[in-house]
Structure formats: C-alpha cells, structure tokens
C-alpha cells in the first residue's frame, strides 16, 4: 500500500468552521536551562486525529505531554507560551491540573496497566472522579469502555483477573479503555503501538479511527504509514520546532517544506 493511497482513503470529518479544540500559541518547553521546544503554534481540531511526526528528540512527545501538563511531573521542566482547551488557558493558575487531566486523557508508549484486576483498571478513573453514581452505573461504564476499546469479547469472562496478565496488545487496549472511561474530551497517545506487533497495531489503528467519532485525538508516531493511515492532520517537528502542519494528505503528497519532504521520503531522521 503506497503512502498516497493510504492518505487519501482516510477522509477527514472536520466540522467546518468549528473552533479548534486545543490550541498552542508560541509554546516553548525548557528542561532546566535547555530549551526542547521553540514557539510552536498548532491547532488541534475537534473530532480529528492529529498526528505528530518527526525524528527522535524532535520535541513531539514534549509537546504532547505539555497538552495535559504531564510535564509538570518532571523536575525542572518549564512551559512558556499559551495552550488553550476550549479557550481556557491550561497553564493559568486557576486551572485545576487534576481536572484538566480528566478532560485530556493519555495513553503511553508502553502499556502500563495497574497491578489490579481488569475491572479495577478501567473503574479507577470513574471511581476517583465520582463519575458513577452506583455499582450498576460503574459496571455499565466499565463494560462500555471495554467494548469501545474492542477488548470486551476477549476479557468479558475474566474481568477479575489481573490486567498485567493480558498480552501486550490487549494491555494497550486496556489502557485505552481506562483512559476513555473517565470520559475525556481529548485523548493523547504517545507512540501507542511502538511496543506492539503488527497485528495488534492494526487493531489499535482501527480502534483510533472509531474513537475519533467521540474524541479529539492527538497521536505521536514514528511510523509515517501509521500517520497516513489514521490521521486527518499531521504536524512535522524537527529539532524542537514545528516545521510544517496541515492536512495529512497534503503533508504526504505535497509537502511545502524541503525538510518535511526529506523526512517523509526517508532522507533525514
């Protein structure tokens, strides 16, 4: 399958004229004295999949982690510029980080289920945020999250077994179910398939395509085929700068920037 055909088959469903769900305005990130990200302006459109691509160390994961302030957990990390979620500045002191992270969920590179049962893994978020009113409600949230993560049929008979006992691909889908159980508006995915085999990857990619009906998704990936297959918008980062962004089909078929072209054709990276 060529890149072009893959890009054109993924039809964008962006609602025209809708305001961006999230927006970065001159975002810079420092680790101590070292600046890792420079002046990034990027719009994340609602109900779209936006993929961030670029060579290792280009700042794409750093940008992703600044969208739900996970960078706060790193010692000496500092963010400048402005990032908004529905027009609210998420770095404003009045913002509750805990609430923000409930609205902007995250799936990590390596599956990281808690050493609890499958049920408890998914119920974790709803429980701490008090989303469910009673046990039946909680059951319903857990079941529907597992269904939407495409894991229900595989685990419905063993919800009380530990989540760590699942296979790698199943664990990652469990983490996705866990993330969507808190009903976030935006879902961040940091190379969600890099630890998985091709079959599990295909399942997750299909899942991402389904999830964008309800969620705004930002995905970091090293695989350009994956970016082409799953995303409607693509942003290319290099050396901490946003080089080019636009519709995925445009980026892959008709890049405006020389560096982007070099990267997608495999000459740098």
């Amino acid at each position: 399958m060529s890149l072009e055909s893959a890009a054109t088959t993924a039809a964008p469903v962006a609602r025209p004229n809708a305001p961006p769900k999230m927006q970065g305005d001159k975002v810079g990130v420092f680790y101590g004295e070292k600046q890792a990200l420079f002046d990034v302006d990027l719009k994340i459109e609602q109900f779209n999949v936006t993929s961030l691509i670029g060579p290792s160390g280009c700042g794409k994961s750093t940008f992703l982690r600044s969208l739900n302030r996970m960078n706060d957990t790193i010692d000496g990390c500092r963010v400048v510029g402005k990032i908004t979620l529905d027009k609210d500045d998420i770095y404003d002191p009045s913002i509750d980080v805990v609430e923000l992270r409930a609205r902007v969920g995250m799936v990590f590179q390596k599956p990281n289920p808690f050493p609890k049962s499958i049920y408890e893994n998914v119920a974790y978020g709803p429980k701490i945020h008090g989303i469910a009113r009673n046990k039946a409600d909680l059951d319903e949230i857990v079941h529907s999250s597992l269904r939407r993560a495409g894991l229900w049929n595989e685990v419905k008979d063993r919800l009380n077994e530990p989540g760590t006992g699942l296979s790698g691909g199943q664990q990652q889908r469990l983490c996705i179910a866990r993330a969507i159980a808190t009903k976030p508006e935006v879902l961040l995915m940091d190379e969600p398939c890099s630890a998985l085999d091709p079959i599990a990857t295909a399942v997750i990619e299909e899942l991402i395509d389904e999830l964008r009906e309800n969620f705004t998704i930002v995905i970091v990936t090293h695989s350009m085929q994956q970016a082409a297959r799953v995303s409607q918008k693509t942003a290319f980062f290099h050396l901490g700068k946003l080089i080019e962004e636009g519709k995925t089909e445009d980026i892959f078929t008709n890049p405006r920037n020389k560096q982007t072209q070099d990267y997608i054709t495999g000459r740098i990276g």
Binding site: N68, M70, T73, D75, V98, E99, L100, R101, A102, R103, G105, M106, F108, K110, N112, P113, F114, P115, K116, Y124, G125, I128, H129, T164, C175, R178, A179, T182
Partner: protein
Amino acid sequence: MSAGWVVAIVLAIGAIAYFFSAQRARVQRDASDRSKEVPHSLPTYHGWLSFIFATVPALLVFLALSAVSSAILESRVRTEVSAHLSDTSAASLSIGIVHNVSSALNRLDLSGANVPTSYAALRDMAKSSGIVLADSGEDYMLPLAASVNADAAVHKLIGQGLTLLLSLAGAAFAYSRIRLRLRARNEVERVVLWSLLAASTVAILTTVGIVLSMLSETVHFFSEVNPLNFFFGTVWDPRFAAAGSGGTEGQFGLIPLLAGTLYIAFVSMLFAVPVGLMAAVYMGEYASSKVRSTVKPLLELLAGIPTIVYGIFAVVTLGPFFRDLSAALAGGFAFIQAQSVLTAGIVMGVMLIPVVSSLSDDVITAVPRAMRDGSLALGATRSETIRKVILPAALPGIVGALLLTASRAIGETMIVVLAAGVAARINFNPFEAMTTITVKIVNQLTGDLEFNSPQTLVAFALGLTLFALTLAMNVYALYIVRKYREQYE
C-alpha cells in the same frame, strides 16, 4: 623462625616469581611473530599465575601441617595424662596445665638437661620471671612438656622447610610453563572464582557453626529440663542455685519471656511503622532531590547510633519523664513505671524508623514510573496515586520490609535490658515492666555461675528459640520480597 616470617618469605618468593614470569612472558611476546602465533595472555597474567603457584599451595600446606602437628601433640599429651590419672573428669584440667608448663619452659628457655625435676622448683623459677603456674601440677608433667616442646620444634622445622620448598617448586614450575599460548588469563580467572566462592562460604559455615554449638548446649539443657516445661511453662523462676543441690530446680517457662518480647516488639512497631512509612512516602514521592539528599542521610544517621545509647536515653531521660508526667497527670501516683513496656517500645521504635523508612523507600521507588504516570494522567492526585496504585503495588515489598524490621525488634537487646526491666511476667499493662528473651539471656550468662547448670544452659535454649523465630521471619520476608520482584521483570 616464626610463622609470620614463613608467610612473609613465601609472599616474597611469590613477588619475585611474579616479576620474573611477567618479564619472561614479555620477552617471549616481543620476540613472537604475530602472524604465526598470537600470544594468549598479557604478561601480568603470567605474573599473577606464578604468584599464585608460589604462594597458595605452600600456604595451604603450611596451615595443614600446623594443624596436624598440634593434633599429634595434643593426642600424645592426652594419652600420657590419662595414664597418670584415675579420674578422667579432671583430664582437661591436667592437659591445660601441661600446656602451660610447655609454654613456661619455652619462655624460660629450658630444654633437655636444664629442665628441673620437680614441679615446685619450676613453679618457683617461673614465679621469679613473672609467669604464674597452677598449684596442682605434678612432677610427671615436666618431662612430658619438655619432650612435647622438642617434638614441636622438629615439626615446626619440617613444616617450614616443606612450605618453603613447595613455594620455590611452585614458582619454578609456573615459570617453566610460560608459553605464548598458555591460557594464564583463564587460569587466573578460575582462581578468582574459587576465592570468591571461599569468601561466601565463610559466612554460611559460620552460621552453621553457631547453630551447631547452640544446638549441643541446648540438647544438654533439655536433658535436664523437660522441653514441655520450657516451651509451655508460664513461670520464669530459674533460682540461681548450684546444680545438683536437689529440690531447688528452677522453673524455666518460656511463655512470659516470649510474651514480653512480642509485646515490646509490637509496641515499637506500632510506633515505627506509621512514622517510617510516611517518611518513606515523603522521601520517595514528594521530596525534591535536594531535600531528599539532606534528609535521607540524616534519617539514616539514626540507624548508626549504637543501641546502648538509645538504652541510656530511655533509662535516663524518657523513662523518668514518663513517670513524672504520669505522676503529674494522676495527681501524685505515677501509673507509668520508669522501666516499662511503653518506654522500651517507643525508644526501640525510634531506632527502627530508619530501618522501616529506608527499606520501604527502596520498595516504593522500585514501582515503575509508568504506574505513577498512568494514574496521574487519569486525573488522580498525588496522594490518590500513592494510596491506590503505588502502595498496593509495593505492598508485598513493604510487608517484607516490616517483617525484617520486626525480627530486628525481636532480637534487640541493649535497649530492652535498660528500658524494659527484668521482671518476667505475663502482663498486658504497657505502663509496667516486662522482660524479653534477650534480656534473660544476658542475665543468665553474666555473673559467677557454674557453666553446666540448667540456669546457665537455658540461655542457649533461649538463644536457639530466638534464632529460630527471627530466621523464620526473615525467610518469610525474603520469600515475599522475591515474589514481589518477579512482578515487574
């Protein structure tokens, strides 16, 4: 020539062998044609190999010969002494005197015809040179001691000669073996392996030796006291009486001591576990690296304080403070005694805080970062993350850490000796004195007591019981910790 000199000479031979072998290997190496034959080992390895050949066998043989020599002499003294004695129970005493006579003769430099014929004469001679000999020696011991000395000198000469010969032979053999392709590097490696193995065996053998020595005394104790009375007896009253003086056999009930031990350990854990755990959580999860690098060493400083100092603190400061405080609270009547379970427990708890916190801190920081990130990314607060994800994940490790701490508490001696008192009784009022197994071991073994009475031997039974108790806890703790480790690998 003393043993020290022999060792020094052997080492010197080894050093010379090292030097010449390395030199020879270097010459061979320089002269070799790499296209035909590649040298196998560096010259230093050839040097070390020669050093090992020159020293290790020689020193081992030296040790072995010394042991054989003293065994031969010992058995000779034993047979001759028992030929002169009708009562064999005094044999060990007489053998001891013979040895003293031998060393006195050596120090006075007497041998052959110079040896006096009567013990009394020797005793006077020894006395004038400042050497004290026992009164109960007999004349037959003098020629025996003199001939033992003569034999020892011969043995020594043979042993030293053999050692030096072997050392030279080893060095020469290793030197002659040096070839380009000799695998000196691998052989040195094997010697390193064996010496590491030997080092680790020492610890194990020592433990086995301790257990065996305690076991034999314990068996001796149980031959005089019924094990049932020991393990299930509720009265501790050993009666410091001489053995065999009928009708005054004491009561050696373990239960009051065990109860005191467990109670005091429980109180100390009650104090140490929450404080230590919270300190560990703070260190592992909240503290910035700057705070951590100051506070953690300070906390661990507590672990470096000798326990006797804690004991002094308890008996001089904390105990009287509690007594006066309770007197003030109750209007004159001090319901907390100066020596009490409470005082001992709290002071021991303070001692245990760094143990708990440092072990738990290791376990908590071993929980992968991905777990924290996963929970935080779901919008959990830090303390929710700690309570719901990190502590459950670390729980088996923490339980293991607590068991290790508990066995420290059970085995602790100096604090309880000073702070808890010596009253052996079953009592559940923490404000009164109680006592522990370790305190009673100290009590039974100190003082001027006949060694093979049950009053003394009970200390070994107590020690073995304590050992079994803490060993079981440690094994269980290690089992839990190991099981937990497998989870993330």
